[in-house]
């Protein structure tokens, strides 16, 4: 009879979550607020819809179903810089377009990061000796991650986003500014 009572009380307990099953019911996680915030931030980057040239098509493909950037939590492309925290410079930046792009960057709230996508954004690409093209967006903006390619494939952009995640998390662990 006693054995039966014990079984009965165990069945009344709520089912353990997968995390609790892994860690055990009496475990404690030690961390810092910064790291928890960093974990949340780096799993939900909100990129700005900021295509400038052909790289933008690869960026669109990355966001669409086949490559599915949503797997990593980065699918919320924002049309307003006020809502975004990652500026993906996808394409050729001309001197004519440079002031609006810098303004978009300045309109984004902190914390914010910049990804230079493709040869043109990295260093002017095939137009490096042109009179109209900025030879690399790092002349104007603080770039965090460079993605080579002309254009880079969606996998490369995903890799760039994940590299940015690692970079931000590493800074949070150090306690420095990302």
């Amino acid at each position: 009879m006693e054995v039966n009572t014990e079984k009965q009380s165990q069945q009344d307990l709520p089912a353990l979550s997968p995390l609790a099953q892994l860690l055990g019911t009496d475990s404690v996680i030690l961390t810092t607020v910064e790291q928890v915030l960093g974990w949340a931030q780096t799993h939900s980057f909100w990129p700005l819809t900021s295509g400038l040239a052909c790289c933008a098509l690869e960026m669109m493909a990355t966001g669409a179903g086949r490559f599915d950037l949503a797997r990593f939590g980065y699918e919320v492309f924002r049309p307003s810089p006020r809502h975004a925290d990652v500026l993906i410079v996808a394409g050729t930046l001309t001197w004519k377009m440079a002031p609006p792009l810098v303004r978009l960057y300045e309109q984004m709230p902190e914390n914010k990061w910049v990804i230079a996508m493709g040869s043109c954004a990295i260093g002017g690409g095939p137009f490096v000796d042109s009179y109209s093209v900025v030879p690399g967006v790092d002349k104007l903006l603080p770039v965090d991650v460079y993605i080579p390619g002309c254009p880079p494939r969606p996998e490369a952009l995903i890799h760039g986003m994940l590299t940015l995640k690692e970079k931000v998390m590493a800074a949070k662990k150090r306690g420095g500014k990302p």
Binding site: W95, D129, Y131, S132
Partner: protein, 138 residues
């Protein structure tokens, strides 16, 4: 203005008579060039040529108007008051060749940044800067 001035589909005008010629070409019934297709320019070294491509919808006819102006004083009256398509074409020529169109209602740079390139890319005197590391320096 008469038909004899048109040779091989081309009419040569001068900075002083341009506006008058253009107005005639647009308004006189025998020409009726109601459309300006393009404004462009050529750098001849000691002079610039500005070319206007006109088209007549009703007469089914094309015409090129060619104006030569000295390189020392690259200035022309704007035809934007006759054809609105000149608004963009003249601004492009202004950015690329440094030719001023007096009387243009909105002469801001079109292709160049707001403060301008600081040079005129389609002039023969302009040299591309060359690629980093390129030995011949272009």
């Amino acid at each position: 203005m008469n038909e004899e001035r048109i040779v091989n589909g081309e009419l040569t005008s001068s900075p002083g008579t341009l506006l008058q010629d253009m107005r005639t070409l647009r308004d006189q019934a025998e020409f009726a060039f109601n459309r300006l297709l393009d404004v462009t320019a050529v750098d001849r070294g000691d002079a610039f040529e500005v070319l206007y491509r006109l088209n007549s919808w009703t007469m089914d006819r094309d015409l090129v108007v060619r104006v030569t102006l000295p390189a020392a004083e690259p200035r022309l009256p704007s035809v934007a008051g006759l054809w609105e398509t000149a608004l963009f074409g003249e601004r492009e020529v202004q950015d690329m060749f440094g030719i001023e169109f007096t009387g243009h209602p909105d002469p801001r740079p079109l292709l160049a940044p707001e403060e301008g390139f600081g040079f005129f890319p389609l002039r023969k005197s302009y040299q591309l800067p060359g690629r980093p590391g390129q030995s011949d320096g272009r």
